[in-house]
Amino acid sequence: MIWRIAKKEILENLLSYRFFILTGLLALLMLVAVIVGYGDFLQRVENFEILRPAPGSPNIIIEPTPMSILAKGLEANLTRLHEISMLGIQIQQNQQSVNRIFALFAVPDMLFIIKVVLALIAILFSFDAIAFEKEQGTLKLLLSNGIRRPSIILGKVFGRFALVFVPFAMLFLLALLAISLLPAIAVTGTFWLKNFALLLSACVYTLLFTAAGTFVSSAVHRSSTSMVISLTLWLLFVFVIPNFGTLLAKSLSAVPTSERIEMEGRLSTIQAIYERIQREKESRDGSEHRRMIQQIRESTLRLLELYQPKMNSLTQLTKAIVRFSPSGALHFLMTDVANTGLYEEARMKDAVVQHVNRNFGRINHLEQGSPDTFLYTRSSLSEVLAETAFVDILVVFFYTVFFIGAAYMRFLVYDPR
C-alpha cells in the first residue's frame, strides 16, 4: 500500500509545473557550479604548476584535487605555497584580483546546492503534503477508504522524496560525467567512490528535509502556515545554528587569535637574530649562526606545541556545536569526503610540521644533503569515515529518523474532524 500511495504522489507531481521548474532550476545551478568550479580548479592547477618547488627546495605546495569542484571547502587554503626557512613556515597568498568579486558573493558549488537549495526544494515539495489535503478535504476521503495511516504518511514521505531526489541524482551523475570528461581532470576509481558517498549523503539529507516538511505539514492545518514554519526550520538549520556555533565555540574556549600567536613568534625570532648580532660583536667563533637557528627553532616549536593543540580543540568544539544542525554536519561530512575539509587541513598541517622537523638540519644547511621531497597523499575515504565522518553520518541519520518518526507519530494521532 505504501508503494501505491508513493506512486500516486509521484504521478500527481511528475507532470506538474512544480516538478518541471524545480528540475530546470537544479540543472541550471549545477551547470553554473561545474563551470565556475572548473574555472577555479584550473586556476589552482596553474598556480601549482608555476609554484611547484624545484628539487632540493624546501618549499611545499600540494596538488589541487578535482573533488574541490564539488565541495570547495578549504581547498584555497590547502593549496597555498608554504615557504619553509629558518624563520619557520610562512604562507604565501597570491590571488587573481578578479577573485575579489567572488569574495563578495556566495559561491554556489555542489555542496551549496545540496546543503541550501536541495533542502529548500525538499521543503517546498513537502510542506503541503498533508496540510493541502486537509484544506481540500481529500484527506478525510483518503482515510475513509480503509488505507492504513502508516501507509499514507510513509507513502507521502517517500513519494515526495523520490520526486526531489531522483531528478537530482540524475543531474548529479550527469554533472559528474561532464566533469570527468573535462580535459584537465584525470578520473580515478576513488573519484567515483567519493562522489558516490556524496550522492548517498545527499540522498539521506533530502529525505531528512522531506520528512521535516511532512512533519510540519501534518502538525498544522493550513499549508501556508506549514510553509512558513518549514522555512523557519530550514533557515535555522542552514544559516542560524552554524553561524552561532562558531561564536559560541570561540567564547567558550579562550584561545588567543592566530594573529597574536604569529606576533609572539615573530618577536622571539627577531630576538634570536639580535642576540646573534650582539654575540658576533663580542666574539666570533662561527657558532652564532647555528645557535640562532636553534634558538628560533626552539621558540617556533614551543609556540606550535603550545597553540596548535588549542586551535585543534577549538575546531573540535566548533564542530560539536555546529553539528546540532544537520546542515552543519552535512557540510563537514561532504568537505571531509572531498578532501577539502577540516580533517584534511589538520592532517596536512601535521604532515608539514613533521616534514620540517625531519629535515630541519638540511633545510637550514646545518647538515649535508638536500631535504627530502615532500610527498603527500590526501586521506582515503575509509580513513575519513573512520576518523571523523561517522559522527556526521550519525547526526544526519538521527535527524532523518527523528523527523520520519515525528511525522509518523503526529499523523497517527491526527483528528480528521
Binding site: R18, V98, I101, A106, E259
Partner: protein, 473 residues
C-alpha cells in the same frame, strides 16, 4: 480607499502566524549575526592594535635597516562597520600557519548576506500568493465587484506587503544597532548614523524589488503554487547564477596571465636577471675603467686588507673602485626595478579592466548592485580595497626611502655603521589610511543604487500592468 486597503493588507499580515514567524526569524537572524560579527570586530580590533603597538615598540627599540620589512608591514584596521558589512574580508589571520580554519569553511553571515539572500527569499515567499492566492480564495472577485479600481488594489497590496516585510527587518537591525552601541569598541559618530541610514535605505530598495518581483509573478499566474515557483526560479537566476557567473565569464572573455606567473617573472627580473647583469657589468668594469685593479679579484680578503693598509695609492684607487661599484649596483637595481614596475603596472591595469568588465556583467543582477552599493557605503568594497592597496604601497615606499635616508646619514657620521646596527627611526612617517569621505561614497553608489531603483520600477510596473489585465475567473 488606498489607505483602507493598505490597512487591510497590514492587518491581514500582522495577525497571521506567518508574520509572527517572519518576525522571529528576521530578528533572530539579524541580531545573531550582528552579535557574532561584533564579537569578531572587537577581537580583530584588539589584534590590530596589538600588532601596531608591538611593531612600533619594536622599530623604536630595535630599528635597523636589515630585515626591517619583517616588522613594518602595516595591518589594515578593521572597519567600524564590520558588524554589519564584512565586504572584502581580507582575513589576515589566514596568512599565518597556526590558524583557525572554521571561519573559512563556514562562511560568515553579515547583514548584506541576510538581506541579499534570505530577505529576498522571504519577500518572494510572502508576495507569491498576494494575487493568485486571493483569486483561489475567491476574495479577488469579491473585491473587484466593489467599486475599487484595480490600480488601487495592486498599490495597496504592494505598499501593505512591503511595510509588513520592513517592520520586522528594521526591528532586527535596530536591536542590533543598539547592541553595537553598547558592546562594540567603536564609539559611534554622527557620520556612522548616515552610513547606517544609507544601508537601511539600500536594503529597503532591494527587498522592495523582490517583493515587486513576487507580485509580478503572482499577477501572471493562475495559482499561488505556480507563482511561487516562477518567482523562485527568477530568484535563483538573479541571486545565485548571474553574480557568480560574471567574474568567470569576464575571466574567459578577457583573459590575463595569472598572478603567480607575474610574481615569478618579477622575482626573476629583480634577482636572477639583476645578478646576471651585475656580473657582466663588473666584468666589463675590470676590463675597461679599472683594468689596473683586475688583480684584486684573485686576492683573498686578508691579502687585500694588507695591501690596503700598506699601499696608500692603491687605497685611493680602491676607494674610487668601491664608489663606482656602489653606483653600478644602485643603477642596475634602479633599472631592474623600473622594468619590473612597468610590468607590474601593466598587469594591474589589465586586472582592473578585467574586474571592471566583471562588475559590469554582474550589474545585470539586483544582488550585485546591492552588494556593491552596500560595501561601498561602508567603505569595505572593491574601491576601498584598491585604495588600500595603493595607499599602503605608497607608504611602504616612503618608509623604505626614509630608512635608506637615515642609514646614509648614520653611515656618513660613522663609516663603520652596518645595516645590523641600531638605527633611530622614531621620527619615521606614520601611516594613516585616508578613508573616502561620505559624500564621495554616496557619489560612488549612485549608479548601483540607480540600477536597483530601475529594477524596482520595472518589476512594479510589470506587476501593475499584469494585474490590470489579470483574468479573475
Amino acid at each position: 480607499m488606498l489607505r483602507v486597503l493598505i490597512r487591510k493588507e497590514l492587518l491581514d499580515n500582522l495577525l497571521n502566524l506567518r508574520f509572527i514567524a517572519l518576525c522571529v526569524v528576521a530578528i533572530l537572524l539579524i541580531f545573531s549575526s550582528i552579535v557574532v560579527l561584533t564579537g569578531l570586530h572587537n577581537e580583530d580590533a584588539g589584534d590590530y592594535h596589538n600588532r601596531l603597538n608591538t611593531q612600533d615598540a619594536f622599530i623604536d627599540r630595535y630599528g635597523h635597516s636589515n630585515r626591517i620589512s619583517w616588522m613594518s608591514s602595516i595591518p589594515r584596521e578593521p572597519s567600524r562597520y564590520q558588524p554589519l558589512v564584512l565586504g572584502i574580508d581580507r582575513d589576515a589571520a589566514q596568512e599565518n600557519f597556526v590558524n583557525n580554519p572554521v571561519p573559512v569553511l563556514l562562511s560568515k553571515l553579515d547583514l548584506v548576506v541576510i538581506v541579499s539572500i534570505i530577505m529576498s527569499l522571504i519577500a518572494i515567499v510572502l508576495s507569491h500568493n498576494a494575487i493568485a492566492g486571493e483569486r483561489e480564495d475567491g476574495l479577488l472577485k469579491l473585491m473587484l465587484s466593489t467599486s475599487i479600481s484595480r490600480s488601487t488594489i495592486v498599490l495597496g497590496k504592494f505598499i501593505g506587503g512591503v511595510v509588513t516585510l520592513i517592520i520586522p527587518f528594521s526591528l532586527g537591525v535596530l536591536l542590533g544597532l543598539a547592541y553595537i552601541s553598547i558592546d562594540a569598541d567603536v564609539r559611534l559618530q554622527f557620520m556612522d548614523f548616515g552610513v547606517f541610514g544609507l544601508l537601511l535605505a539600500l536594503s529597503y530598495i532591494y527587498i522592495t524589488a523582490f517583493y515587486a518581483l513576487g507580485l509580478l509573478f503572482s499577477a501572471r499566474s493562475r495559482t499561488s503554487s505556480v507563482a511561487v515557483l516562477k518567482s523562485l526560479f527568477a530568484w535563483v537566476v538573479l541571486v545565485l547564477v548571474l553574480p557568480n557567473v560574471s567574474p568567470f565569464l569576464a575571466a574567459q572573455i578577457y583573459s590575463i596571465p595569472s598572478r603567480a606567473k607575474i610574481d615569478l617573472e618579477l622575482n626573476k627580473i629583480e634577482s636572477d636577471d639583476r645578478d646576471e647583469i651585475l656580473r657582466k657589468r663588473i666584468q666589463l668594469m675590470f676590463q675597461t675603467t679599472f683594468s689596473d685593479l683586475a688583480f684584486i679579484r684573485s686576492m683573498t680578503k686578508p691579502e687585500l686588507q694588507k695591501k690596503l693598509t700598506d699601499d696608500s695609492a692603491f687605497r685611493e684607487r680602491y676607494a674610487q673602485y668601491q664608489k663606482a661599484f656602489d653606483d653600478l649596483v644602485r643603477d642596475v637595481n634602479r633599472e631592474q626595478r623600473r622594468i619590473a614596475n612597468a610590468i607590474r603596472e601593466s598587469f594591474d591595469n589589465q586586472s582592473h579592466r578585467q574586474e571592471d568588465f566583471a562588475t559590469a556583467l554582474a550589474s545585470l543582477s539586483p544582488l550585485s548592485n546591492f552588494v556593491f552599493a552596500a560595501t561601498d557605503v561602508a567603505d569595505v568594497g572593491l574601491h576601498s580595497d584598491t585604495e588600500w592597496g595603493s595607499q599602503s604601497s605608497a607608504y611602504n615606499r616612503a618608509f623604505g626611502d626614509y630608512v635608506e635616508l637615515r642609514y646614509n646619514e648614520e653611515k656618513k657620521k660613522n663609516p663603520a655603521f652596518t645595516s645590523n646596527d641600531y638605527l633611530d627611526l622614531r621620527a619615521r612617517p606614520r601611516f594613516q589610511f585616508q578613508q573616502m569621505p561620505l559624500s564621495a561614497r554616496i557619489e560612488r553608489i549612485l549608479i548601483p543604487a540607480g540600477i536597483l531603483m530601475v529594477f524596482n520600477l520595472l518589476f512594479f510596473a510589470g506587476a501593475f500592468v499584469s494585474f490590470l489585465r489579470y483574468d479573475v475567473r
